[in-house]
C-alpha cells in the first residue's frame, strides 16, 4: 500500500542513492542537478507553508529567495576581497563561514517577511496576490539599478562558504549539506503543520470569523507563518547562490515566484512533500525536454494547464488516487 508517508520516504532515499551512484560513476553534473532539486524544493516548502496550509497565495516569494541569495553573495564577496562591509558599530568585512551566512540570511529574510507580511496581510484574495508580486518586483528593480553589486549583470563569488572544514567545492559534500537542510526543514514543517499553531493556520484558510470567535487572531497566525515561510525560502536562496557561485537579479524575478507555485501544484497542494516531488519533476522535465528543444517551456505550459484543469491533486494526489482505485 502506498501512503503519502511512503512516497516521501521513497523519494528521500532515492535522492540520496542517486547522488551516491552519481559520485561513484563520476557524474558531477547529475549531483548538481540533485542539489538544485533539493534547493528548489526547500524554497517551495517554505512557500507551501503559507500557500498550501494557509491559502495565502504569495506571488512574491522570490523576494526571500533573492534576499537570501544576495546576503550570502555579499558576505562572501566581501570576505573574499577582504573588503569592509560596514565600519560601524564595529568593523565587519563579510564572512565565508556558512553558519554566519545562514544566520544573517534567516535574520534578514524574517525581517523582510515581517515587514511585507504586515503590509500585505492587510489585504486578502486577489489583492494579496498582486501586492506580494509587486513588492518582489520592487526588490528586483532595486537590485537591477543598484550598481554596487553588479546591477543587472549580478556578480560571481569564487568559492563556496565553508562549514566545519568540509570541502564544499566537492559536489557530493555540498549535496549532503543541502540534503541535511531539507531534512531539518521537512521535520520542522511536519511538526509545525501538526501543532496547535498549524491547526490554527489551517483554520484561517477556511473561515476567519470562526477563527476569531474562538479567540484566535488570524492576522498574527498568518504573519508568523509568513515570517517562517520567508526564512525557509531565504535559506534556499542562500544555498542556491552557493551552488552556482553566482548572484543575479534573476533570483528575484517574478518567474522564480511563479515556478515555486508550480512546484507546489505539480507535487500536490497542501502536502508536506509535494514541493519535493514537484521540484524533482520540474528539473527532470527541464533536462529531458530541454535536450530535445530549447522551446520546452511550451510543453511545460501545456502540462501546467492540463494539471490544473484536469488533475487537481498533483502527482502525489494522482498516485494515491490510482492506488485507491486498484
Amino acid at each position: 500500500m502506498i501512503s503519502e508517508k511512503n512516497i516521501s520516504y521513497i523519494s528521500l532515499i532515492s535522492l540520496l542513492l542517486i547522488a551516491i551512484f552519481a559520485e561513484y560513476f563520476n557524474e558531477p553534473y547529475l549531483i548538481t542537478l540533485l542539489s538544485r532539486i533539493i534547493i528548489f524544493s526547500i524554497a517551495a516548502i517554505g512557500l507551501n507553508l503559507v500557500l498550501g496550509f494557509g491559502n495565502l497565495i504569495s506571488f512574491g516569494h522570490a523576494a526571500f529567495f533573492g534576499l537570501g541569495g544576495y546576503i550570502s553573495g555579499i558576505l562572501a564577496i566581501h570576505a573574499f576581497n577582504s573588503e569592509l562591509l560596514i565600519s560601524w558599530p564595529f568593523l565587519f568585512s563579510g564572512s565565508n563561514n556558512s553558519l554566519i551566512i545562514w544566520s544573517f540570511t534567516i535574520l534578514f529574510c524574517s525581517l523582510l517577511a515581517l515587514l511585507l507580511g504586515a503590509l500585505c496581510l492587510r489585504t486578502s484574495g486577489v489583492y494579496f496576490i498582486m501586492i506580494t508580486l509587486a513588492f518582489a518586483q520592487m526588490l528586483y528593480y532595486f537590485a537591477i539599478s543598484w550598481p554596487s553589486y553588479g546591477g543587472e549583470d549580478g556578480f560571481s563569488i569564487y568559492v563556496r562558504s565553508t562549514l566545519f572544514g568540509i570541502n564544499t567545492m566537492q559536489g557530493l559534500n555540498f549535496f549532503l549539506i543541502c540534503f541535511f537542510w531539507l531534512l531539518i526543514i521537512l521535520f520542522t514543517i511536519n511538526r509545525v503543520v501538526k501543532s496547535p499553531f498549524g491547526l490554527a493556520l489551517r483554520a484561517t484558510r477556511f473561515n476567519l470569523t470562526r477563527v476569531k470567535s474562538v479567540g484566535i487572531n488570524p492576522f498574527k497566525i498568518q504573519l508568523i507563518a509568513f515570517v517562517l515561510s520567508g526564512a525557509i525560502t531565504g535559506i534556499a536562496g542562500s544555498l542556491y547562490v552557493d551552488l552556482n557561485r553566482f548572484v543575479s537579479p534573476s533570483l528575484l524575478s517574478w518567474q522564480m515566484s511563479g515556478e515555486f507555485i508550480v512546484f507546489i501544484l505539480i507535487g500536490g497542494l497542501g502536502r508536506i512533500y509535494g514541493p519535493l516531488i514537484g521540484a524533482a519533476f520540474f528539473v527532470t522535465f527541464e533536462q529531458f525536454f530541454g535536450s530535445y528543444t530549447e522551446h520546452w517551456q511550451i510543453f511545460l505550459g501545456i502540462i501546467i494547464i492540463s494539471t490544473v484543469l484536469f488533475a487537481k491533486g498533483g502527482i502525489i494526489g494522482f498516485i494515491l488516487e490510482y492506488r485507491k482505485n486498484e
Binding site: 511538526r191 496547535p196 498549524g198 490554527a200 483554520a203 477563527v211 470567535s213 474562538v214 487572531n217
Partner: protein, 247 residues
C-alpha cells in the same frame, strides 16, 4: 443566584433610529434566559454590542463584576464569552474533533505552540471527550464537519462554544431549521449544559422558549418591555400587543 452578565442602561442610536433604548437585563447562574422580540426589535444590534462587534453609545456591560464595555471581541472571548452563530459556521474541512480542539487551542492560548502534535492526544484530550459526550457526537469525532447533518452541525456549534470554557453561552437561533425530534434532542442538551454554564438564548420558536427558558425578556423597538417567567410573559398584556397587535 449570581449575576453573570449585567447590561446597564445600554443605548445605541443609528441616526434618528434608536436601536437600543436604555436596555437593562441580567443573566444569572444556572438559568436559560431567552431574549425574544419581533423582527427589527433590535436583537442583533444588542447581541453585537454584547459581543463587542459594535460599540454602544452609552451604558455598561458587566461580566462577573468586570466592566467589559470597552473591550474587543477577542478579549471578551478570553474573559468567558462563547456564542454560536445564526448561520451554522463550523470549519467544514476539519473533523468534529478538530473543530472542538481548535476552540480549545484558542481558549487556552496554545496557538503559539509549534511543537506538540495535535494527533498525539497529549492536548486536553479528556476534556474534549467530555464535551463531545455531552453533545452526543463522541462516536462521530473523526467525521469531517462537511458530512454532518444540519442538526449535528448545531450540536457541534454548541460543543465549540463549550470548549471555550465559557462563563456564559450566547445561542443565536439554535433551533432554526431543525426537525422536531432534533429540537427535542437539543432541549435535553441545553438543560444539561445550563447547570455548568448559563445560556442567553435568542429564539423565534416560542414553544421552545416557553418550555426551556427559566426567564424570558421581551425586546420591542429597542426596549425591554417585559421580563419574567414563562407564565408571567404569557399573561403579559404588553407582550400580547407587541406580538399580536391586540391587547
Amino acid at each position: 443566584m449570581n449575576k453573570i452578565l449585567q447590561i446597564i442602561d445600554l443605548k445605541k442610536n443609528f441616526g434618528a433610529i434608536t436601536a437600543s433604548n436604555k436596555i437593562n437585563f441580567c443573566l444569572e447562574t444556572g438559568e436559560i434566559h431567552a431574549l425574544i422580540g419581533p423582527n427589527g426589535a433590535g436583537k442583533s444590534t444588542l447581541i453585537k454590542q454584547i459581543m463587542g462587534e459594535m460599540k454602544q453609545d452609552s451604558g455598561e456591560i458587566i461580566l462577573s463584576g468586570i466592566n467589559i464595555s470597552n473591550l474587543t471581541t477577542e478579549d471578551r472571548i478570553h474573559l468567558g464569552f462563547a456564542r454560536s452563530f445564526q448561520i451554522t459556521d463550523v470549519i467544514s474541512d476539519f473533523t468534529i474533533f478538530q473543530n472542538v480542539l481548535l476552540a480549545k487551542i484558542g481558549k487556552e492560548k496554545k496557538f503559539y505552540n509549534f511543537y506538540s502534535s495535535i494527533d498525539s492526544g497529549e492536548l486536553t484530550y479528556e476534556e474534549i471527550k467530555t464535551i463531545l459526550l455531552k453533545i452526543d457526537l463522541w462516536d462521530e469525532r473523526e467525521k469531517p464537519a462537511s458530512l454532518l447533518s444540519h442538526g449535528e452541525r448545531r450540536q457541534l456549534e454548541i460543543g465549540i462554544a463549550l470548549a471555550l470554557n465559557p462563563k456564559l453561552i450566547l445561542l443565536d437561533e439554535p433551533m432554526a431549521g431543525l426537525s422536531l425530534d432534533k429540537i427535542e434532542k437539543m432541549k435535553v442538551i441545553f438543560n444539561q449544559i445550563k447547570d455548568d454554564v448559563p445560556i442567553l438564548l435568542i429564539e423565534h420558536n416560542m414553544d421552545v422558549v416557553f418550555s426551556i427558558a427559566n426567564r424570558i425578556s421581551v425586546l420591542v423597538n429597542g426596549k425591554i418591555i417585559a421580563s419574567g417567567t414563562s407564565s408571567e410573559i404569557k399573561s403579559n398584556l404588553d407582550v400580547k400587543e407587541a406580538y399580536l397587535g391586540t391587547a
